[in-house]
């Protein structure tokens, strides 16, 4: 890479460093080990979701149903244990539901050719409604005695490092391995880069797309389990929040273009760190939620504008259908 042609992740990383340094110097209590761990812990779930999203976005898709997979299958685990099932049975059922959901998503997108944006919007709505109508008795599914020990997934620590961070790290390694070391990963990039060319060269595009969405759903379910374990409940109304937009921001800010075929796990980590640092610093400064959002938005906008100046796109280089 030539000097002066910073990529988007470079810019975002630079902003992250600058912000981190600024907070470390000016904010009391920011640059402490405890705060660092808290920062990471807070964004670990977001980061895990980001990985699932990244997998799909690299394959030129998008998965807006991630929050539903985060809420409903883990909520089902809590509910089933509450109702007297054993933990393994509950986990197996939730896993089954997640895989089935991922398959439906993938089938709709790959075989029925419904745009991913629209499919996952609708299936997410469906899954949330399914949970609300048929699975859960209350909006917040409570922890029960049968789950004891499972909370370590969210609250435990290994060598002083909280479990969510470790789960995030492990997921990072797995996804990175999948994307860079396996044939499937290469297919995902090929499909994201040019689906028609990939298909013409004999890549089984449709099965690979289905696999992407199944994996994304599984990752979303994992994030949900971590979240439930760390707060000892599953607030299923989280589906109504705009959290999914944060997930997309993590991915896109990190430098994974929505047009697909570019980026990797590193980008998700950078995006997660930026958002995490920003939120953590503002929380220490005791800003209101809305003000935090406002500043977050402005910083993000600055990052995207800087990218467009450093990596200008014009009508010749822009990809058709790249929104």
């Amino acid at each position: 890479m030539k000097l002066g042609r910073l990529s988007q992740q470079g810019i975002v990383f630079a902003i992250f460093i600058a912000m981190f340094a600024g907070f470390a110097i000016f904010l009391h209590g920011f640059a402490t080990t405890d705060n660092m761990l808290a920062l990471l812990q807070n964004v670990a779930v977001l980061g895990i979701l980001g990985l699932g999203m990244a997998l799909v976005v690299i394959g030129r898709g998008v998965d807006l149903s991630l929050i539903a997979t985060l809420a409903v299958p883990p909520g089902l685990v809590l509910q089933m244990v509450q109702d007297g099932s054993s933990l393994p049975v509950a986990l197996a059922t939730a896993l089954l539901l997640t895989v089935a959901f991922g398959l439906v998503n993938g089938w709709l997108i790959a075989y029925a050719e419904v745009p991913a944006l629209f499919t996952t919007l609708a299936t997410g709505l469906f899954l949330a409604g399914f949970g609300q109508a048929l699975l859960f008795k209350l909006d917040v599914v409570q922890w029960s005695a049968g789950l004891d020990g499972f909370e370590k997934l969210g609250q435990g620590a290994v060598l002083g490092i909280p479990m969510p961070i470790i789960v995030f790290a492990i997921t990072c390694v797995i996804v990175a391995g999948l994307l860079t070391r396996t044939r499937i990963g290469a297919y995902v990039y090929a499909i994201g880069d040019n689906p028609n060319a990939a298909r013409a060269t004999g890549v089984p595009t449709r099965p690979v797309i289905v696999l992407e969405y199944v994996l994304a759903a599984l990752i979303g379910c994992l994030a949900g389990l971590v979240m439930a374990a760390s707060v000892n409940s599953m607030p299923t109304r989280i589906y109504n929040s705009t959290w999914i937009y944060d997930v997309i921001l993590v991915v896109v800010l990190g430098g994974i273009g929505l047009s697909g075929g570019r980026g990797g796990v590193v980008n998700v980590v950078i995006g997660t760190l930026l958002i995490g640092t920003l939120l953590n610093g503002m929380t220490i400064m005791d800003m209101s939620y809305s003000a935090q959002n406002l500043i977050k938005g402005v910083v993000l906008l600055a990052a995207v504008i800087a990218d467009s100046f450093l990596n200008p796109r014009n009508e010749e280089t822009a990809q058709q259908g790249d929104i």
Partner: protein, 703 residues
């Protein structure tokens, strides 16, 4: 059995299916059907669903949301997306109520300020996406967050002031809840905007620019469209339309609750996609936006009214959306494939066994080799001279495949030049009294080339027939012409269902798709005079000056049509059951007529023409190049008279000089031969012909 086939072929309008499907508006068919089903189901299960009060209430909400869907639709058509509409909606709602309740501005000023505010919010998006060329999805996602948090901060400060105020202005109340003859104010405003939007998108230049940019941004840019400005303005329009909807919303409810507009972008996006406006750009219409809005609104409101539990409501909504989207996408994707399967609908075309042409069989069509020794003009220097004509100074004109009219100079026709460039394939030609050369151009219409070589379009459209599905006003394949003594031009159009290069398909179909059109240069009018002809081709004014002789290629006949005089409007068959496919007709020096026969019939196609079902299966199951088409095997020139007698025929048995003959023209004792597949013009010395015969002089008198 054959009588039944003939009857069915004549009266059963199976060709209409393909024509209806080819209409652009059938793209919206699936969303409309979904809308009807939803409306029907809801009206059956909810009492008073169709009552005026309920409808007015629906219309109010539909109008408010509908404005945003129009804006979003515009942005999606131009190839972007606007996720910030929900937040813009909330901010515009706040702006209107703040101006009214806190600043106490007059209602007119409130409207103006709110719309300007919406434009400003949209302009931020537009500037970032249009001029800075950020990605639309991520940019509007960020402005969604920024606008939403700005709104949250603002209502923290001012919601109490707004909640405390009770504005009471008749005009404000009219916006919120007024109606005209029961039609809510917002619905009227929406109707006006929607109609303008439809005209804008389909009839005005900026609307075309928007569709062009969405279809292919690069091509639009390269063809000089102001891509950046247009894109930016689309986002501004989205902001203004959102603010308009919010204005009505503010006037109706007057609240600035925390959840105003939350998740609205999802509803709007759903409406856009359900209506059939494709994400990625280039396709969409106001009707689609309207249909999408209504579906989403009916489903959500209907489920609420049925007091379905929240969870089931979501599931139902999601399921309906998905099923509708799947069907719609399948339909859009396969529509062209279905059209290509059903558009070609062969018809019954009976011909009796042809008269013999073999040597020794006798009769006027008996083959000979008279044309073997013709001399050749412009060999290898001209391509596809469908028709040839000579002016009164003996120069020879012929069309060429390259869209030119070539002139060969008398006396030896060695020297040639491009007389005029038109751009389409020139077919039949004729001189009028002022030496203007009128020429039928395939795919373009009727053109006039003045003696000073200026090319002018004479006509390219005729009156549209009321009952046809295809728009038949545009000329697709003007073929041959002749000019009546009073200057009226009669020309044939071979088909209204196919383009020029698809003429063999027309032969396969053998339906009466052709017509004869009259262009009157004195009054500048063009009218269709005769319809339902099977590939009308050559045209020649008959000796009485009140009728034309015209050839129908795939009916293998020549007929006479009276346009004036006591028999005006009548059609009579002159020649029937020709052994081949007739093409151009021209005057002979002895008062008879020359007729080119471009190819000879063969028993296989004659039989197939009597079996429409067989050819129908053929066109559905076989690739196009394996269908049965009329042969262009060998041809001849015959001379006939108005009584329908064949007097003489001229053949080129070996096809060495003239693989095909589409036209012939007699001039000073010679016969000049053209063929649309040839690279030459033939010149044949006629025995016993008037050596001074010039068609111009014969028709218009000696100058």
């Amino acid at each position: 059995m054959e009588a039944f086939v003939r009857f069915k072929s004549k009266y059963w309008p199976d060709h209409l299916l393909g024509e209806i499907l080819s209409k652009r508006w059938t793209e919206t068919a699936i969303p409309v059907i979904v809308l009807l089903i939803v409306a029907f189901a809801l009206s059956r299960s909810i009492d008073g669903f169709l009552s005026p009060v309920a409808l007015a209430d629906q219309a109010r909400q539909a109008g408010e949301i509908g404005f945003i869907v129009l804006g979003m639709g515009l942005v999606v058509i131009v190839g972007g997306i606007d996720l910030s509409v929900g937040s813009m909606w909330a901010l515009a709602d706040f702006c209107a109520l703040y101006c009214l309740d806190v600043l106490h501005l007059p209602v007119a000023a409130v409207i103006i300020v709110t719309l300007l505010f919406g434009a400003l919010l949209g302009a931020v998006n537009g500037f970032l996406i249009g001029y800075l060329r950020l990605r639309a999805f991520i940019t509007t996602l960020i402005t969604l967050i920024i606008y939403r948090s700005a709104y949250d901060l603002l209502i923290q400060e001012h919601s109490n002031e707004i909640a405390a105020a009770f504005p009471d202005f008749p005009s404000w109340n009219f916006i919120g809840g007024g109606d005209v003859f029961g039609v809510p104010s917002v619905a009227i405003a929406y109707a006006i905007v929607a109609i303008f939007g439809h005209v804008f998108l389909t009839r005005l230049r900026p609307g075309w620019h928007i569709t062009a940019i969405g279809g292919s941004r690069r091509s639009a840019y390269n063809s000089g469209i102001a891509v950046r400005r247009t894109i930016a303005l689309c986002y501004v329009a989205s902001g203004v339309l959102t603010a308009t909807g919010a204005l009505f919303f503010a006037a109706r409810l007057g609240t600035v609750g925390g959840d105003v507009g939350v998740g609205l972008e999802v509803t709007v996006l759903t409406a856009v996609v359900l209506g059939g406006i494709s994400l990625g750009g280039g396709k969409g219409s106001v009707a689609k936006a309207l249909v999408g809005t209504l579906i989403v609104l009916l489903v959500t409101n209907g489920l609420t009214t049925l007091s379905v539990r929240g969870g089931y409501q979501r599931m139902t909504l999601a399921a309906i959306l998905l099923v509708a989207a799947i069907i719609d996408i399948r339909w859009l994707k396969n529509r062209m494939r279905i059209i290509s399967k059903v558009y070609v609908t062969p018809a019954y075309n009976y011909l009796p066994p042809p008269p013999p042409t073999e040597i020794g069989a006798g009769g006027p069509f008996e083959q000979n080799d008279k044309l073997r020794d013709v001399s050749l003009i412009g060999l290898g220097r001209i391509e596809a001279p469908e028709d040839v004509i000579l002016d009164r100074h003996d120069n020879l004109y012929a069309g060429s495949r390259h869209g030119d009219i070539i002139r060969f100079f008398a006396p030896d026709y060695e020297r040639m030049e491009v007389f005029a460039h038109i751009g389409g394939q020139p077919l039949g030609m004729a001189f009028d009294k002022q030496d203007n050369l009128y020429c039928c151009i395939g795919g373009m219409g009727l053109y006039r080339i003045a003696p000073d070589r200026t090319v002018a379009k004479a006509t390219d459209e005729t009156n549209r027939s009321w009952l046809s599905v295809n728009d038949d006003s545009r000329l697709r394949l003007a073929d041959d012409l002749d000019i009546a003594p009073d200057g009226r031009i009669f020309f044939s159009e071979a088909t209204v269902r196919y383009e020029m290069h698809e003429w063999p398909v027309e032969g396969h179909e053998a339906r009466g798709n052709g017509r004869i059109v009259c262009y009157d240069p004195n009054r500048g009018t063009t009218r269709t005079v005769l319809r339902g002809l099977k590939f009308p081709n050559g045209i020649c004014i008959a000796s009485d000056g009140q009728s034309i002789l015209f050839a129908e290629t795939f009916r293998c006949s020549v007929s006479r049509y009276w346009y004036d005089g006591p028999k005006a409007g009548k059609v009579e068959t002159v020649l029937d059951n020709l052994p081949g496919y007739p093409d151009n007709i021209n005057l002979a020096s002895d008062g008879n007529y020359w007729l080119a026969i471009v190819g000879m019939r063969c028993p296989a196609l004659d039989l197939a023409w009597r079996m429409p079902g067989f050819r129908n299966r053929m066109s559905k199951r076989l690739p196009l190049d394996e269908w049965l088409f009329p042969n262009i095997n060998t041809g001849c020139v015959v001379k006939f008279n108005e009584k329908g007698e064949i007097l003489e025929s001229f053949w080129d048995l070996h096809g060495a000089n003239h693989p095909m003959i589409t036209s012939m023209r007699e001039h000073r004792g010679f016969l000049y031969l053209g063929g649309i597949a040839n690279n030459r013009i033939g010149r044949y010395k006629l025995a016993n012909a008037d050596p001074d015969f010039v068609q111009y002089d014969k028709r218009w008198g000696r100058a």
